[in-house]
């Protein structure tokens, strides 16, 4: 966990440094009045002075104490910007995960239990469509649909859930649906595959043979075991949700972490790029750690190792 985060931070640090273009030249542009000394002072102020190990040490030791540096643009501490953005991305991801799991798991079970029926085929084709539809197109389609059919567009300007839950949810429902469809389809396909595998196990046949009801076998015996690999997939999906969130945040104007990251990239605001990327990667690593814990808890065979 800790070595991973250190490794990630080194990769991010190097990525930002090794890219072409000198930030100082970009900041001062074609202004030839600026002397070398002033440039040097700017470098020190921005923390891009000295050798790479020095720079990394300064950045990393700051990050550990919560000091991510300051934004190039408005000198606002990066941490403040990120702390404002994280709850938005979190809410988006939790909502879309809920949609994906609550709809995907039942669909997968139905599809597996009624294998090769028309509902199975419908669910499978639907699943393939779901993993093929680009989330940014789906978002556009949803906007097109609601504005054409209902004459409704989501209210502009982000409102916090705690200030006005209803407005907040109406703002989040379309973006959450747009990014959840891919995950929903993956969860459905995964549940279908694992259910099929579990249903062909001997213990399922035994349970059936000794007269346990079909429903009970499916939901008590089979689904429990079938869900275990699904948890892992959900953990991986969090990464895809974060990528998706970055795009729909732009489309719907929600100032989450992805929105901050993209703007900082276009502004060449390196401290913010570093901070936002690190934040996203760390959240992703934590999410996977959580998944591993849940996994060992669901499947005692793992924690015994």
């Amino acid at each position: 966990m800790i070595p991973t985060v250190v490794g990630i931070s080194i990769i991010i640090f190097l990525m930002v440094r090794l890219m072409p273009g000198d930030i100082i030249d970009i900041l001062f542009g074609a202004d030839i009045q600026v002397s070398e000394e002033e440039k040097q002072q700017a470098r020190i102020a921005l923390g891009i002075e000295g050798s790479y190990p020095e720079q990394y040490w300064n950045w990393a030791s700051g990050v550990v104490t919560g000091d991510f540096g300051q934004s190039f643009r408005n000198a606002e501490p990066v941490l403040d910007v990120l702390l404002r953005a994280v709850p938005i991305t979190f809410e988006l991801m939790i909502l879309s995960l809920l949609i994906a799991v609550l709809i995907g798991v039942p669909l997968g079970v139905i599809s597996a239990v009624r294998r090769d029926s028309s509902s199975d085929y419908a669910a499978r084709v639907g699943g393939l469509v779901g993993i093929s539809i680009p989330n940014f197109w789906l978002a556009t389609l949803l906007l097109l649909f609601t504005s054409r059919v209902f004459g409704w567009v989501p209210p502009l300007g982000y409102v916090s859930f705690f200030d006005d839950p209803l407005t907040n949810l109406t703002q989040f429902v379309l973006p959450a649906i747009s990014i959840s469809v891919f995950t929903l389809a993956i969860v459905m396909r995964m549940v279908r595959a694992t259910m099929l595998e579990v249903l062909s196990q001997d213990y399922v046949r035994t349970a059936r043979a000794k007269g346990v009801q079909r429903r009970l076998v499916i939901y008590r015996h089979a689904l429990r075991n079938a869900l275990i690999p699904v948890v892992t997939v959900v953990g991986f999906e969090i990464g895809i949700l974060m990528g998706g969130a970055a795009i729909v945040e732009i489309i719907f104007g929600l100032p989450g972490v992805g929105y901050v990251l993209l703007n900082s990239i276009f502004n060449r605001d390196y401290p913010l790029v570093q901070g936002a990327t690190l934040m996203i990667a760390v959240i992703f690593v934590l999410a996977n750690l959580l998944v591993d814990i849940v996994y060992g808890w669901l499947d005692p065979r793992i924690s015994q190792h």
Partner: protein
């Protein structure tokens, strides 16, 4: 760390990569013969869709010979016989731009996956062949790459390199390289365990000869599955990057870029939003159908059913 599947859970890397590994492990050793028993409707539909798209990219511009950049029609015309997909905000023919976009997406997909295929194969081959420190270091870096959400990493790399189609291809290639490296390494480790490798070594074959003549041909099958899967990922990623303004730059036509401009005309011109997105989905659907079909054929684990309980074959 020594095995791509450390516990009995599937590879975290990607659902797709995991499936590819699974398919490889379950695959009969005389693979590729599966092409002979292709009675799988989903796979055939997928292959047909991809074939159509390739033809569209190669010859579409000859059949529909309208210049995708010519601004000679009226602006924002709805679809009609003269402009089957309407015209955009500058009076350019949308169909011609969709065809150009097909070329762009196919090119980006092929080059990005090509980068990942070459780099990933080299990394995986060396790690799996030499083991030891080389392996530990390379796989540690690969693990770290997986600690980033893929699209976010692509956005950051493309953004830092500077927005352009070339940089988008590089970024996508870098991001999907670890998946190839992992699968190749896993396959190499498996093949290395076979006695014939040992006998070849005993006969005095050099490392290079073992790698090129004995390892590479035997790991080709999982690579084929992986390429199909990641072509669709790469095409989708290119569209996303272009949509965000980090890929193909306007005025050149690309599906993602067209969707981006379409957002400003969502009320005035629905056709601008519909057709490019449908094109992206169509292609990805083709690859996913093909991938699914391949997996159905390659994975013999799922047998028929008896009553309401499926049984093993």
């Amino acid at each position: 760390m020594s095995d791509p599947r450390p516990t009995n859970r599937p590879v975290l890397a990607a659902d797709a990569a995991g499936d590819a590994v699974g398919a490889w492990e379950a695959m009969p050793r005389r693979r590729l013969a599966f092409l002979g028993r292709w009675h799988n409707p989903i796979g055939i539909v997928g292959a047909a869709v991809i074939g159509f798209n390739v033809l569209l990219a190669l010859f579409g511009a000859l059949v529909w010979s309208v210049d995708p950049d010519a601004q000679d029609a009226e602006r924002l015309l709805p679809p009609s016989w003269g402009n089957p997909m309407g015209t955009d905000e500058l009076g350019r023919d949308v169909l011609a731009r969709i065809i150009h976009g097909a070329q762009v997406s196919l090119q980006v997909g092929a080059i990005a996956v090509g980068i990942a295929l070459v780099a990933g194969t080299l990394i995986g081959l060396f790690a799996g062949f030499h083991r030891g420190v080389v392996d530990a270091v390379l796989m540690r870096v690969v693990d770290l790459m997986f600690a980033f959400p893929g699209l976010v990493l692509a956005i950051v790399i493309a953004g830092l390199l500077g927005p352009s189609r070339r940089n988008a291809m590089i970024a996508i290639g870098i991001v999907i390289t670890p998946a190839f490296a992992r699968v190749v390494r896993g396959a190499v480790l498996e093949v290395m365990g076979f006695p014939y490798i040992e006998s070849t070594r005993a006969l005095g074959a050099s490392s290079r000869r073992v790698m090129t003549r004995h390892l590479l041909p035997n790991i080709a099958a999982p690579l084929i599955v992986l390429v199909t899967v990641y072509l669709s990922t790469a095409i989708l990623a290119e569209a996303a990057l272009s949509f965000l303004g980090l890929g193909t730059q306007p005025p050149e036509a690309s599906w993602g870029g067209m969707l981006n401009t379409a957002r400003s005309y969502i009320d005035a011109a629905w056709w601008l939003s519909i057709f490019p997105g449908a094109a992206i989905m169509f292609v990805c659907l083709g690859f996913n159908f093909l991938g699914d079909g391949l997996r159905d054929i390659l994975d013999p684990r799922l047998g028929p059913t008896v009553g309401d309980i499926p049984v093993k074959k």
